[in-house]
Structure formats: structure tokens, C-alpha cells
Symmetry: C2
Subunit: 266 residues, 2 copies
């Protein structure tokens, strides 16, 4: 038993989908969440910048002596995790490897789609991991650069011509390729699952990368014996804007206000 | 005559629309441009964060000993300029005051619309300046939080149902209110002038805030006698991604590669 907290970070608040899942499957764990809202999004930025920001986010969480860190951001997982993983002397879990593992388990046809930010898709890391495990897989990746903005503006509902048009444009090549499994390679995308599923068809299994990261933590980490199952929230922009956006990603209200972090000090 | 350069900054590359205008009307001026591409956008962030970033951007430009600074970002102009304007001992020009002045000159009905980012509209500074000059003006402001993402993804063309739908949603209240003048209170928005003008109707005059800021500089600043009219470009994210986006905002190719800045050092 290990009562130390689990540290979780994301470029913004999409990583709260992983926090929700962690609370469901590990209800006694204390969680420290950092959302880099002063520098979100990461997905449009260059690799060196993403690596720099990822190191600062991890160093901030280290002061709470966590037993593990979850990179609940596909962009950081894809562009930075291989580089920084060994630098900190504790387990660092990303979204990419567990999502690939799950996709390999559920695909029947061997045709797997991946969607993510521009930086995630440019990294090619999903294809590399999938092909390393099984070179016969047919993997198609598509960047969806407008999805994060659309989700954060609440454009997630069936019947909204804006999100439906953009989903069709981005996903048409994957549907045409006949993928039977689609990795939602960004923690914002589960909010689009209705619209995406309508377009892709019911036979396509969606893999939620934040939830898969949480499941990987449960399999690997020594659980807490008597934690309170609480979360402390930290952000790098005005904490007052945290609540409205956080409620998009959590099924409940956040338990307490967010605290402000000067992230460039780390 | 003053041959020192003019410093220009924006949260990203939208401020290049002001640089283009400066080169047109002051062809001998040397310009130093900084685009904070590592932290763009500002328009979704809180006021304190925007003020902090604005101070860093100005301090970076000061090392080039400029004769004036142009805040070619409406979000920074609206949320930070009043606070930081007197701190640096040189003229700092924003987009807001000259845009308000121009709108007052061109309106016939006294009904003026303003569009901008969430932070710009939340600041209320356009309404304050317009009402200070003329309390009888009827000013309507509308936040357009998706416009920057849509422009940066090239969704600027007539016939694109995504941009046309969003333009209609955001601008319908301003059209219904019968404004005859619309301030484009974000340096990204001139790229949407066709779609906006189609929706608002030919009788509505669009005010380009970046161009107005450039005109204000020309009226106030001692011009260069023998500058080369060149620009140095600096960014805070990967300079390799500068060219593609910059060409959206400049009518010509950028004259030379952008250089990387560690902006948090300033």
C-alpha cells in the first residue's frame, strides 16, 4: 500500500477525463491535477516547446512527492514522453502506449485509425508503437486541429452543423479506409463521441486515451490504503475560469477551487 | 528624423497585418516583430496573465532601443495597455484608441459594433473609450471566440459552411441592432472581411484595428530618414512553423526566417 498521491497534468482541462476515470477505478487515491491553462493548447506547438513545457509540468508535480505521474495529454505523451520519461526517478504514464495496447486487443480487421492534434499526428508515435507490436496492422492517422477549440466552445452536440461538418472532413478518409477501431488521441475528444460515432458507424470501437491511461495506472501502481480520494486542482491561468470549463470534463462539480501556479518557475 | 526601429508584437502572427500596413505607409521604417507563438492565444486567458505576457513582450522589444512600440494585439491592448502604458518611457500604441477614433469618424447612425476575443469583449474598453468621446453612441460588442482558430485553419472563404455558420451566429445581434460600423477588434479578423461583409451588408463599414494602429503611429512618430524598411521576425515557438502562417497575414513572403526567443527570460 502506498498512500502518496498520483500527479496528473494536461495542457488544459481535457485531462480531467482521466481524473474522472481514476476516481471511478481507484476511489481511495489522492490526486494532484495541474492544467497548464496559461499556455494551452500544446497541440499547435513545436516539439521543443512541448518538451520544455512537459518538464516544467512534471517538476511542479514532483514537489507533492507523488508515487506516479500521468501525462493526461496526448500531445505531451506523443511529443515529449519518450524524451523525458527516465529523467525523474518515478513512473510516468502516458496515454499513447495503453491506447495502442487497447486498440490491438479490440480490432478484428487490423485496420486502426488514430486522431489527434497536429503535433500528436506529426510525431508518428501511435503508428510506431502499433507497428512495433504488430507490423501487419494498417494504421491511418488524421490530425483534427479544430476539435479542441470546438469542444471548448461547447460545439459537441448532434445536429450542430459546424462540428458535424468538421468531423466529416477530418474522418472521411478513416471511414473510407474501413477502420474498425478509432483511437481518440486527445483527452478532449471523448466529448465528441456521439458525433464521431454517428459518422463512423456503430461497428467502429472508440478508444478513450485518457481512460486507458487511468487503467494502466491501476494495473501498475501500488494502491492507497486509506486515502480520501480527493483532488487538488492547480492551473496556470486565472483560477476563476476553471469551474465552467472543468464541468465540461467532469461528471461532478470540482471539489474545491483551483489554485494558481507560476509554472515558468519550475 | 529618427532612424530607430519600431517594435511590434502580437500574441501570434495576426499582428503582421499591422506590419504590412506600416510598410505601406512608412516604407523606410525598420521593424522588429515579436509573435508570442509559444503562448498564443491570449484571448482566452485571464487579465493578470495577459498583463504579465504583455510586459514580457515589451521588455523583449526594448533591447532593440525602439522609438515606439505597437501592441498589434487587441486582447493585449484591451486588457493590459492602460496598466502598462506608462511603465517603459517610450510611446506605446495600441489598437483600441485609434479604432474607436476611426469608428466615430465614419459612423452616420451612431450605432457601432465591436467584435473581438472573449478577453477583449470582457474588458469593455471599446465601449468605455467610445462613450467617453460621445455618450450618445450606441455600442454593441460581441465575443467571437472561434474566429482565431478558424482563421488559423484557413477557414476564411466564402462558401465554407463552417465559417459562414459561425459568422452568422456571432454577428446576428449586431446586424439586428442596425450597426453601420463594425470594429474588427482582433488582428486576425481582416482575413474574414469578405464573409463578414457579405453577412453584414455593403452599407456597414469595417474598421481594421491593425491598420488603424499603424496609421496612429505614422501620425505621431518621427519618421526614419534612411532606414531600409526591413523587418526582423522573432517568435517564441518553433521558427520553422512561422513561414506558412505568416504568409496568411502578409501579402508577400516574410523577408528572412524568424528567430527563436525564450520569452519567459524577459
Amino acid at each position: 500500500m502506498d498512500n502518496r498521491a498520483i500527479g496528473v497534468f494536461d495542457s488544459g482541462l481535457g485531462g480531467l477525463t482521466a481524473v474522472r476515470r481514476l476516481h471511478e477505478i481507484m476511489p481511495r487515491e489522492n490526486i494532484i491535477y495541474f492544467g497548464d491553462t496559461g499556455r494551452v493548447p500544446y497541440g499547435t506547438r513545436g516539439r521543443d516547446t512541448i518538451i520544455k513545457y512537459t518538464r516544467q509540468d512534471i517538476r511542479f508535480l514532483l514537489q507533492f512527492d507523488p508515487k506516479a505521474i500521468v501525462v493526461a495529454c496526448n500531445t505531451a505523451s506523443a511529443a515529449a514522453l519518450e524524451t523525458v520519461q527516465g529523467e525523474f526517478g518515478l513512473p510516468v504514464f502516458g496515454t499513447v502506449a495503453p491506447s495502442c495496447e487497447k486498440a490491438r486487443q479490440v480490432t478484428r480487421s487490423g485496420r486502426i485509425g488514430v486522431i489527434g492534434t497536429a503535433a500528436t499526428v506529426r510525431s508518428g508515435v501511435f503508428e510506431r508503437l502499433l507497428h512495433r507490436a504488430d507490423p501487419s496492422l494498417d494504421v491511418r492517422a488524421a490530425a483534427c486541429p479544430l476539435f479542441v477549440s470546438l469542444v471548448e466552445n461547447g460545439r459537441v452536440h448532434r445536429g450542430d452543423i459546424v462540428i458535424e461538418t468538421v468531423v466529416r472532413e477530418y474522418l472521411q478518409p478513416l471511414r473510407d479506409a474501413g477502420v474498425d477501431t478509432l483511437i481518440l488521441g486527445c483527452t478532449h475528444y471523448p466529448l465528441l463521441q456521439d458525433v464521431i460515432s454517428d459518422f463512423m458507424g456503430g461497428g467502429v470501437t472508440l478508444v478513450d486515451s485518457g481512460a486507458e491511461a487511468a487503467d494502466a495506472v491501476r494495473r501498475a501502481v501500488d494502491p492507497a490504503a486509506d486515502g480520501t480520494g480527493g483532488t487538488r486542482y492547480f492551473v496556470s491561468d486565472d483560477p476563476r475560469s476553471f469551474d465552467a470549463l472543468a464541468s465540461l470534463f467532469l461528471s461532478h462539480e470540482p471539489a474545491g477551487p483551483a489554485e494558481l501556479v507560476e509554472i515558468t518557475d519550475y
